[in-house]
Each structure stands twice: as C-alpha cells, then as structure tokens.
Point group: D2
Chain length 114, copies 4
Amino acid sequence: MVASAEEAAFEVGIKFGTLYHQFAGTPVSPESAESLETAIEEAIENQPHCVDVTVDILEAELEAELAGAPADYTELTGRFMEVEVVVDYEGTQAVARMAMDDGYPLMELVEIGA
Amino acid sequence: MVASAEEAAFEVGIKFGTLYHQFAGTPVSPESAESLETAIEEAIENQPHCVDVTVDILEAELEAELAGAPADYTELTGRFMEVEVVVDYEGTQAVARMAMDDGYPLMELVEIGA
Amino acid sequence: MVASAEEAAFEVGIKFGTLYHQFAGTPVSPESAESLETAIEEAIENQPHCVDVTVDILEAELEAELAGAPADYTELTGRFMEVEVVVDYEGTQAVARMAMDDGYPLMELVEIGA
Amino acid sequence: MVASAEEAAFEVGIKFGTLYHQFAGTPVSPESAESLETAIEEAIENQPHCVDVTVDILEAELEAELAGAPADYTELTGRFMEVEVVVDYEGTQAVARMAMDDGYPLMELVEIGA
C-alpha cells in the first residue's frame, strides 16, 4: 500500500525528470528565454496532478555565458534555470524545486502535506 | 569543395532534425499548443543561418485524438504539426517543410536558390 | 521535514520522467532495440540513488507496427516499452513500473519500504 | 528542382540535428559511454538514406570533467563526443562531422559526391 504523500512525491519527481530531459539542450538566448519559460510551464502543467509550474530562465546567466562567445545562443541546461513544481495528489500537495548546488542542478523535495 | 546550395541544404536539415527531436514527446493540449509553437519557432531561429521558422500545431488533430481519450493531453509528434524552415547560407536560401505523408512525417527540401 | 519514503518516491519519479522524455522519439527498429535497452538502463543507473533499471523494448509490438508500413523503423514511445526502476534512498527502497494502461503509458509506484 | 547533392546534404543535416538533440542531456559516465555510443549509432542508422554513423564519446574528457566533481556522471553534450555520419541519396554520398571548435560543437559538411 502506497501512501498519498508518497504518491504525491512520485508525481512531482516525474514532472521534474520530464521537464529537465524534455527541454535541456533547447537552443536559447536572452531574447527567446521568455517564450521558452511559458511553453515549459504550460507543457508540464498538462501532466496529471500538476497544479503549478514556475520556470525562471536566468537571463543574466545567459548573458554572462554569451559575453565574448562566438555565438549568440547556447543550450538550455540546469545552470540557466530555476524551477518550482506543485503537485496535488488526491488532496496531498508536494512541492519541489531545482536550483544549482555546487555546480550541479539539484532537484529537491521541499514540502509535502495536506 | 562544398557549394553554397549544399551548405544551405545541410543547415536546413540540421534545423529540422533539431526541431523534431528536441520537441517530440512534449506534453501538449489544445490549450498549450500556442505557447509551444512560439517557443519552438524562437528556439530554432537562434541557430546559425536560420531566417524563419513557422510551426503550426494542429489543434483540430489534437482535439480529434483526445475526444473520448482518458487524458486531456498527448505527446507532440509529427502527426500534430506542420513546419516550414527558411535558412540563408551566405546569400543562398533553402526552404524545407514537414507534413504527414502516408502516416509518416515527411521532411522535404522544397526550394534552394539565391 | 520529508520522510525517507517520500524522498525515495521522489527519486524514482525523477528517473521515470528522465527515462521517458530523454529517449521517447528515438528512431527504433527490432534490430536496434537491444542496444537501446542497454543504453537506457546504463544511462539511468548513473543517476543518484538508482539501484537497478530494466527496460524491455517490445519487439513484437514494433514488428506489428511496422508490418505493411512504408518505413522499417518507428519512434520509441510508451507503447513499445515496459520499464522497472529500483531506487534506494538511505536504506528505503522504491520500485516503480511503466506499462500501457487503456492506451496510455502508466507510471506506477508499486512498492516502498525498507 | 532540387539536385541529388542538395538532397544528400539535407539528409545528412537531418541526421546530425536528430542525433544531437535526441541524445544531448543523457546521463553519461565513462562506464556507460560505450553502450550509449552503440545505441546512438544503431538508432540513427535506422533513418532513411543513412549508411553509417560513428560516435566516439570522449572518455578522457568525461574523466577530466568528473575529477573532483561531486557526482560520478554528467550530461552528454557536444564537448564529449565526436561524430561522423555518411548518407547515400540515390547514389550521391554526403559525409558530415561534428567536433569542437572554439568551444562550440561545429557540425560540418565535409564531402559530397558520387
């Protein structure tokens, strides 16, 4: 028997894996960051039990990366985004976040509860 | 020695492979189709030599797929989009399109020229 | 405070979302199914807390899909694979599976425990 | 009217875009590099007109990246692979390669001919 809190945690984990591996690698620039944020949020919010997705593509980080680079775009990766996902599984909410931690994109379950 | 027309054809091919395999599998619904179209267009237009990208996600096809289905979204695949990409390689344009043909998404080079 | 069982469920969810959205869309045929199974398993087993990944690409389903089709390959999607992932989070195991259910790939948390 | 050389160039471009954007982001380590190379080669060789794909995942580069890092895997990206693809379009061959150039993965059409 699996508890609702565990189901909620499982579901929010699926959303994070989906979000990261569907969109990592997308060509992105400071100019296209906003449309990509919106599309990622609306795409993931389609998934079951998903209540809210907030994606912040870090334009200042993109600009720093591109300063002096030969190209004017790069590939989306964990360094360039912060994400929060809220799932509701039969009344139990799970909230998870992704941000950089020691050079790696850390996905973290920050809250579970009714 | 590679001619400009061949370089233009190569570049427009790269854009099609990128577009399809970056975004196929994205959760999509009639409601989220428009933001995904915009994000795909702006993402691919970042790539070198890319002049214009037009993505039409076929909302009527999505609605037909979802009628009577247990879920209210599906995964983006070739059946649900038509695409045109225009590349300019040092003055030579290449235009390619993708549409369904006999059940497969056919990518076709439709025009090359100055 | 998040319990170990919830962390384990979150981690196994991440692995499923990753697996599906990294590899869905890959060109696959009965001949290339086996190398893709192995690569998916070894790729996902790299992720933190992941103990074991078993991917079965359904060659009979691929062959049925391709019988009479104009091409001899298709794109990997949920209809063509069954997956089991085992995660161990600080001594708590979580097991999840994916298989088709009413036309959709259902990801299911099947067991959590010490 | 599109010449065979241009069609061959278009096709080899599609294969490169596919290969890069299908597999970039895959979790990879020195231990899993070989199975991923094989799977990428066999997957892309399924595509129309594709004669040969050679993928070299650069294990020394992976090891350098991971030395001193908190994790023992990373995400596949252009820095960690060299690729050659050969296409034959109705008797006309096109050969393209990808390798790093000034910090970017450069995809280059290296030969077209009968």
